[in-house]
């Protein structure tokens, strides 16, 4: 936080007279250069870093400054790439079929349809999209995928008194291109694809083990409303009317 330095009021003839003292300007100018250096490294050195920008990004102090203030991104918010089915361009949802300790099954959706306000819906969609991205063959990271899915599985199992679960990350494809869109064809609105499927179970020492963590690229049948296999009480707002795949 900057302290307010004394300055003289601007006059119509000499606006420079209103400037803060020279020492203050020098110090702040130096900080501004450091700030914009850090910002520039974040912008040009994140997406396709050169060796130089990669090295500069690790400069002690600048690295922590960028990361702490979340300036380590290139701000390339393209909003859409228009890639039909591309993980970055579709909405995702996690669908877990949980086998509870008493043998019953419940289906949990994250985000639950109708989640309100939209900020929460968007937040959970982002979580699901991260699973899809980590599972993606081109962009993915198996290590991150395992850690994230393990954490999510633990959360779902815990909230639903579950023993094991099957987890799907389902992407809802966008509407087809304008020229192909037929408003009378409802099937065009409900096209889904699994970005990831896996299973997890709770061990005796309360750890969560993933027993399958392969990305699944095939088109899956769209979830359809079905009668609940069980009427167990909903836990923490994550249990929704189940979909049966």
């Amino acid at each position: 936080m900057m302290s307010q330095a004394p300055f003289s009021r601007a006059t119509s003839n000499d606006p420079d007279a209103a400037l803060p003292k020279s020492e203050i300007r020098t110090a702040v100018s130096f900080l501004l250069f450091v700030h914009f250096f850090a910002l520039a490294i974040g912008v040009v050195g994140t997406e396709r870093p050169s060796e130089l920008t990669s090295a500069l990004a690790q400069v002690p102090g600048v690295k922590q400054y960028r990361e702490g203030l979340m300036m380590n991104i290139p701000y390339t918010f393209y909003l859409t790439r228009g890639m039909v089915g591309g993980e970055l361009d579709i909405d995702h949802q996690l669908v877990a079929t949980v086998k509870q300790k008493d043998g019953k099954e419940v289906v949990v959706q994250v985000p639950e349809p109708g989640t309100w306000p939209s900020q929460r819906l968007h937040r959970y969609q982002t979580l699901a999209r991260n699973v899809a991205i980590f599972a993606d063959e081109a962009m993915g990271s198996p290590e991150h995928l395992g850690l994230l899915v393990q954490a999510i599985s633990r959360g779902i199992l815990s909230e639903n008194n579950g023993q094991s679960l099957q987890l799907r990350c389902v992407g809802r494809l966008t509407l087809p291109a304008m020229a192909e869109f037929d408003p009378d064809n409802e099937s065009q609105r409900v096209r889904y694809r699994d970005a990831y499927t896996g299973s997890a179970f709770l061990t005796d020492d309360d750890r969560v083990e993933l027993i399958k963590k392969d990305p699944a690229r095939d088109t899956a049948p769209p979830p359809k409303d079905a009668a609940s296999k069980d009427t167990a009480p909903a836990a923490a707002g994550t249990v929704s009317p189940p979909n049966d795949n």
Partner: protein
């Protein structure tokens, strides 16, 4: 010859130095910064408030983002500043959450603004760092706006600080000041804060345009269709526009042109109000079709930094906030 070259470079450095000083340090009335504080504070408060129902579900000991796994997802040397890394007990989470909301509420209302602005930055970053698999565009923009608000006197207007100051101050007559001569008091730190928002936002617009123009959909005018085609997140159904592709094309290309124009023309004092008004229409429309209204809101709010205090005052007076936008004695 040498003297001529020397004089030339001397003139250049002198000119650049003066321009630099005026750009960054010429005192500004912090009215615009104060308005941004209120609006960004509301967005930050809302963002954190929406964590209330999910706090334990996300950050609790058995949460979807359990401490152990999520911390291992970050590289070991990553500087992730969040007090939520220190505990995951539901009761402690709730206490920290409500304290954070109180701080953000105080900041938005302008109470002890110099202190609460810094604390608010810490609070918002704490959620974003801890819940990094949940964040998207909005959080990054909100983070830098909140940071820059710490640098200037953002509590000079529309604040409880101002109200308390007025009550504590002696009547104007006792200090020899007449209300008729009341003038806005400029602050150089307000200029620094506003300029930083302006420059940073221009970079964001520039990078957005660069990113979008690498994609075919933004060139062929179909991007808005693909955005609206994400049925789970889109807040309005515009699929009926499939039969009027020209409109979709116009909407898409209009948004790109707006982004280019905003980055370039908002720097012009005369055109800045027009650009801000256009940004409301552009971002609300995109916010509705993408479902990212908070992102749209923070882009509009950050864009207000381009308004001069006089433009802002005129705007506030038109919506009936003349008294609040007058400078304090």
């Amino acid at each position: 010859m040498f003297a001529t070259v020397s004089d030339y470079f001397s003139a250049v450095t002198d000119h650049i130095g003066k321009a630099w000083n005026r750009f960054w340090f010429l005192p500004t009335d912090p009215l615009t910064l104060s308005v941004i504080r209120v609006l960004a504070g509301v967005i930050a408060f809302y963002t954190v408030l929406t964590f209330t129902a999910d706090l334990t579900t996300l950050f609790g000991p058995q949460g979807l983002l359990g401490l152990e796994n999520i911390s291992r997802m970050q590289e070991p040397a990553y500087f992730s500043f969040s007090y939520f890394w220190l505990f995951d007990d539901p009761a402690q989470l709730q206490i920290a959450h409500w304290i954070g909301l109180t701080v953000l509420g105080m900041f938005t209302l302008g109470l002890f603004t110099r202190v609460t602005s810094v604390l608010s930055l810490i609070v918002t970053l704490a959620y974003f760092h801890r819940g990094f698999p949940l964040i998207s565009e909005m959080e990054h923009v909100l983070a830098f706006v909140m940071f820059y608000l710490c640098l200037g006197p953002s509590g000079e207007y529309f604040s409880l600080d101002r109200l308390l100051h007025k009550r504590r101050s002696p009547p104007p007559s006792t200090v020899g000041v007449t209300l008729a001569k009341k003038q806005p008091v400029g602050h150089w730190s307000a200029t620094v804060a506003l300029r930083l928002i302006q420059v940073h936002l221009t970079i964001v617009y520039f990078m957005m345009v660069v990113a979008q123009l690498r994609e075919d959909t933004w060139w062929d005018g179909t991007a808005v269709w693909w955005l609206a085609g994400r049925q789970d997140s889109s807040m309005i159904d515009i699929s009926f526009l499939h039969s009027v592709p020209y409109l979709i094309n116009l909407w898409t290309l209009g948004f790109v042109v707006f982004e280019i124009c905003f980055g370039a023309l908002a720097w012009n004092k005369l055109l800045a109000p027009l650009m801000v008004v256009l940004s409301v229409f552009a971002w609300v429309s995109v916010g509705l079709i993408t479902g990212m209204l908070p992102f749209a809101a923070i882009m509009i709010v950050a864009g207000l930094a381009f308004l001069t205090p006089s433009s802002m005052r005129t705007m506030l007076e038109t919506i009936g906030l003349k008294q609040q936008s007058q400078p304090a004695v």
